[in-house]
Every structure is written in C-alpha cells, then in structure tokens.
Amino acid sequence: MADKREYEEPGQSAWKGRQAFLLRFSDTLRAYNNQDDIGKAAMKMLAKELDLDRCYCAMIELTKDRAQVMYQSGNSLIPPIPDTLSLSNFSELLLQANEGPLTINNVGIDNRLTAVDRASFAAISFHAVAACTIRRGKKHPVWSLVAVQSVPRKWTEVEIMLLEEAAERLYSAIENTRALTALAESEKKYRTLFNSIDECFCIIQMIFDESGKPVDYLILEANPALYELTGLTDAIGKRMRDLVPGHEQFWYDKYGEIALTGKPARFQHRADALGRWYDVYAFPIDKPQELKLAVLFKDITERKDEEKRQVEEERLKTYLLLQKSEETALLGSWEFNRLNGHFTWSDGMYRLFDLKKGTQVIPAIYLAHTNEKSLAKAERVVQYILNSDSDFEETLEMNISGKIKVLRIKGTPIRNNQGDIEHILGVDQDISAMWAAEDKIKKMEQEQQLKIFRTSLSTLEEERHRISESLHNGIGQLLYGIKINMSRFRTGASDEELRHNKAYINELLSQAIIETRRVSHELMPTTLEQFGLKSAIDDICRQLSGAIVFNCHISIQHNRLEKYMELAVYRTAQELMTNVVKHAKATTCDVTIIIGTDQVKIAVNDNGRGMTEEADKVDGIGLASIRSKIELLDGKLTIASNSGKGTHVEVLIPHQGLTNKHSRL
C-alpha cells in the first residue's frame, strides 16, 4: 500500500498519449494470427502501459457459474490468477462489472465491499481493481478485462476508457482471429476434401467468339484430380484450346449451352483427344454474365472399355453364331457402302465364292462369275447394289471354281435419319442343293404326270377297245344275225314258219336291246351313281354270273368314300372280274370288298387255271393296266397263282374317307 501510485492524467494530452498506445496496441495485435499470441501480447502491453501488477482477461460463463482466465500478465507482487474462477465466490461488487466498468481504488477502505470481500482480495494481494466487461446485448457478459494493483490506486477516467477500448479491441482481435482460424479450418477441410476426392472438380469460364459460338474455356481452378483424370499438367489459368488443341467442339458446345441457358447437365462423352471417357456434371456458378461453370467429372474409360469389351464379346459371339449359321445354311452376308463404295463381305461370302478371306471385292464380281444364262440377271444385281432404292432378289447361276452354283441374292437399302440410302445390306445363299431337289421333284412330278397321262390314255384306249369290242362282238353281231335271219322271211314260207321266224327275230332284237343296255351300263354305271357301291358291285356279280358263279361279299367298315374312290373300286372290281370271265376258265370266283377306315381291300379269288408264267404274276393277263391305275392311287396289287390252282388277286388302296355327304354304300 505504501507504493500506491497516483496516476494523474494530464488532461487532453494524456488521452492523446493513450490513443497512440491504442494504435500501437491494435497494430501489435493485428500482427498476430493466433489468438493466444494476441491475448498474451495484449496483456503484456496493457500491464506495461498502465504499470499494472497484474492484468488478465477472463471469459464469463454465467450458465456455468465460472470465469475462464484466458490470458494474464503481471509481476510477482500479485501471483498468477487460477485458470478457472467460480463466479459465486466473487463479491457482489465485482459482479457489477458485468453491467459496466468497475473501479476499486482501495480495497481496504471501499465500503462497497464486505469484510469477507476485503479479506479475500487481500489474500491475493488485490488492493486496487479496475474491470471492463464486453457484453453481448445489455446483460450478457462475454468476457472481462481486469487490471489489478498490489497497492491502492486511483484509477483515472482516461485509464478506464483505455481499458474499455483495449478490451474492445482485444475482443475484436481475438474474435476476428478465431473467425479467421475457423474459416481457415473450414477452408482447410474444404481444401482437403476438394483435393482428396477422386473426381475432378474444376471451375471454368466459357469463351465465345463474336458470333456467339463457344470456342474455348479458361480453367480457373481445379483439384489435383484434374491432372490425374486428364493427363494434363499445369492447367490452371490456361485455355483448353492451348492445352488440348484437338479437344472436340462437342465440349465447347455443351459447356457453352449450360453457361447460356443456366441449366445444369449430366452427360457421358468420350474426349478423343484425351483418349478417355468422362461422366460429367456441369452447372453454372456465380453471375450468369461471368459465364462460369463448375464441372465435376470422373474418368469412366475403364467402365466404358469394359462395356465395349462386353459389347465386343457379344458381337464376337454373334459373329461366331452368324458364321456358324452362314456355314450351316450356306449363307453369306454383305454390305455395300454407297458413300465410299466399300463392298464388305462376311466369311460366308468368301466361302460361297471360294475366295480367300479378305480379298478385295467389288459388286461387279457377280458379272465375273455368272454364266451366260444369268448374265442379264447379274447385271441387274450390280445395278441394284449401286443404285436401287428398294429391296431386290435375284437368282443367279454361277460358275465358281469350275463348279456350277445357284445363288439367291437378296438386298435391302438402309436409310439414314435424313432418309438417304447409305448402305445396302444383302444376303447370298447357295441354293444349288435346293434347286437340284426342286428340279428332281419337278422331274418326278413330270414323270408322275406322264404316268398319269399314259395311264389315262391307256385307260381311254382300253375303254374304247372295250366299247369297240362290245359293239363289234355284241350288238354288231346280233344285228348281223338279225339281218341274216331276215332272209327267212322268203316268199312262200308257211304261216307256221313265219310265226317261228318272227319269234326268233323278236328274240334276237330283245338280245340286241339287252346288249345295248349292258354296253351302256358298262360305259356309265348308273347303279353306282344312283344306289352306291354295294348295289353296283352286286350288279356286276349278277351280270357276270353265268358259267362262273361269283360270290360277292362287301364289308363296309367306313361309310364314307370320295366319289373318285368309289368309281376306282367299282372299275377295279369290274376289270378283275371280267378278267376272270375272259381268262381264268374258272367255275367259281369269290369277290371280297372291304371298305376299311383307311384303306379299301379288293380280293378276287378264282378256281381257274391259274397263271403259268412268272411274268403273268407280275403283269398278268389284263392286269398291267389295273396295276398302273392302282399305283396312281398309291395302292398295291398282288397276285398269287399257281398253275391249275386258281388265281388270287388282292388290291389295297389307301383312302381318307373325306366326303361330307353320306355315302350311298
């Protein structure tokens, strides 16, 4: 207390001196960028300037009832203040500092203090105290700057003003530094993130020419991934055109569009000049007129390559499949590019033309290999390939390596988006085998037709012959017999003779009428037409029964037959039975006709002389024509015969029994 100093202010000049200190104070604090350094320097400067035994600043935390001493400076007269002070231990008077500057000139006599307060202060050598508090709002103290003297001291107004100002400047300096530190931390974090991400983030500025066409961009900023992902070096602040002269116009157009429209875009595209694929998200930043874009992109070349590899693999598989198919189907495919005149062949085409794979070919190759017969067609094919605007198809006979091949050539034009024909795609197929088969079938058909024609002709001839015979041997003979017998009516004949002759002539005429009816019936079996197969067969049996007894049995298991089939069964039975009458010298003949569900069986068994020659059994007497007719119906005729033991003829004819109407069987 004895050293109590009277710090008299010399008025206006004293404040000026303090102001000079405050300028120095601020300058000093500004030099530090660390809040601890600032706090320590401030305490030191204040202690020195005001000649304090201790000066400290503490953060007030009312909610926690404590003050955290942040910085302090002083001499040994007052020991260092603990880092944390309990606010509840503070005297009421000291707490008033939270609401405004507080000065205690002499602790020992200040009656605002209690005896306890005084004793507490004395214990820590506090004899004079001045405190200024920084508040947020009116009642929220944030921290206090406290000046302490180990002896009583009369604090001047200038000193308190200086403390207040210093407290304010210190607080600002510290807060500012803290903010900057936080910002720097944040910036650091952002930078770390910015620099560590695998994707490239860059900011570019678009450059347009006078016509408004995007022509370049400036790389303003980018993370290190830019170099990793592009292979560029030292790109910041440089123009892309300078860095990569071959960079495609696509990129400038795309970024230009985003800059002008303000619409973000995500896309994938290959930068050929950089030899990579990119997945890009670009969006405008800052003011539109600045034409700046933030571009976030990553290298997807590997993925694309994999995709491409898979596509290639698929393509290869398809190609191999196509190759196999071409090989199997004797196919070849080709493409003609009308823009550059390239004629591209698949392996199958080279195989078809027996040429080494890769041999250069032109459409005129068709002319070179076509034989004389197909030359006009080959010329058409070439013209189609070169000029046609529609699908085409031709079949050419070609001479390839000394072999005749028949190729079917089909082509179709492929148009671009504008509708112009750019390509002609085509397929050639070796149809030689197919042609040969078709030719064979054609020949077989011709032969079959010839056979039908011959059979029809021979049947017709047989019919004519039979009619001729019937007329000649039947009706003709009868008429001649009548004519001869008419001579009986000579002059002078007795009445008895005349009556007898008349009766005889009448009988002959009746026979002639019957014969005429028989011939007529034979020509057209009306019974078949009117009463069906069973009646018609019965009729034949009745008519032919005489010297030979015909036993006819007709079994009908399927009551539907096509009309032609009914006629065929009728004629076959009739001819077989007539054969028996004419040639067999039999006394009985069993005729069995079975109309089955899918075939007709005709069996004619006689007890006649049988066939003596083997040849007869094959094409037995009168059987050749029956056999050929049966064969035309896909039927079969078999003969079993031994000399003197009769003949057994069996005919089987398949049928489908299709008529919709009820049969008259």
Binding site: H472, Q477, Y480, G481, K483, I484, R488, L508
Partner: protein, 123 residues
C-alpha cells in the same frame, strides 16, 4: 357242190349263216366251228372243205391267224374273211395271210353265196 366250213364264235350268226347258206344253190355246209382251234381240229381230222368262211374276231386263234395256218397246211382251201371291220388295213392283213376274199358283215346271204361261188371258181 361247194363244201363250206363256217368258223364263227357268235352262235346266232353262225347258226343263221349255216341255215341260210345251206339253202343256197351249190353250197353245202361241211362243218361249223365256234373258234379257230376247233376249225383246225376238224380240218386236221380230215373233213373235206373247199371254202372256209372265217370270222375275223374269235377267241383264241384269230381269223387272220387261222387263215395263215390253213393256207400253210392246206393251201387248196379258199378262205373268205368275214368281218365287221371295214378299214383297208384289216383287208390288207387278210390278203397277206392268204385270204381270197374280205367280206363285211352286212351282205345279204345271196350276195355272200355269190362271193363263195366266185372264190371257189376263180380262186
């Protein structure tokens, strides 16, 4: 008398001719045959015949064949072919086989008798 054999398979015609020609002057029916085989058998059996009236169409040996065989075996026998066929080709065949006449089956019995007589006389 001209000894005539009839070879005709049609009973009515054969019987009618037999009766009618038998009534003609200078003709006697030496034999009748219903087919060629029967005719040859009868000739070979020794029946004396001057003229044969042979039907063209018969079962077994045809009229032309029968003519050929008769002319080979017994060339003195004159053969007249009796037929319904009017075509020249038949006629040529008949003459080539050795027939003396070719007569259609539409002649009156009297005319037929006249031809038989001519054939027998002239040959």
């Amino acid at each position: 008398m001209i000894r005539l054999m009839l070879a005709e398979d049609n009973d009515i015609v054969r019987e009618g001719l037999s009766q009618m020609l038998a009534a003609q002057v200078g003709i006697t029916i030496a034999a009748e045959a219903e087919n060629g085989d029967s005719a040859l058998e009868k000739l070979q059996a020794g029946i004396a015949v001057d003229v044969m009236l042979v039907d063209w169409n018969m079962p077994g040996i045809s009229g032309v064949e029968l003519t050929r065989r008769i002319k080979r075996l017994m060339p003195h026998i004159k053969v007249i072919i009796l037929t319904m066929h009017s075509k020249d080709e038949y006629r040529v065949q008949a003459f080539n086989a050795g027939a003396s006449a070719y007569v259609l089956k539409d002649l009156e019995v009297e005319d037929l008798a006249k031809i038989i007589r001519e054939v027998y006389t002239i040959g």
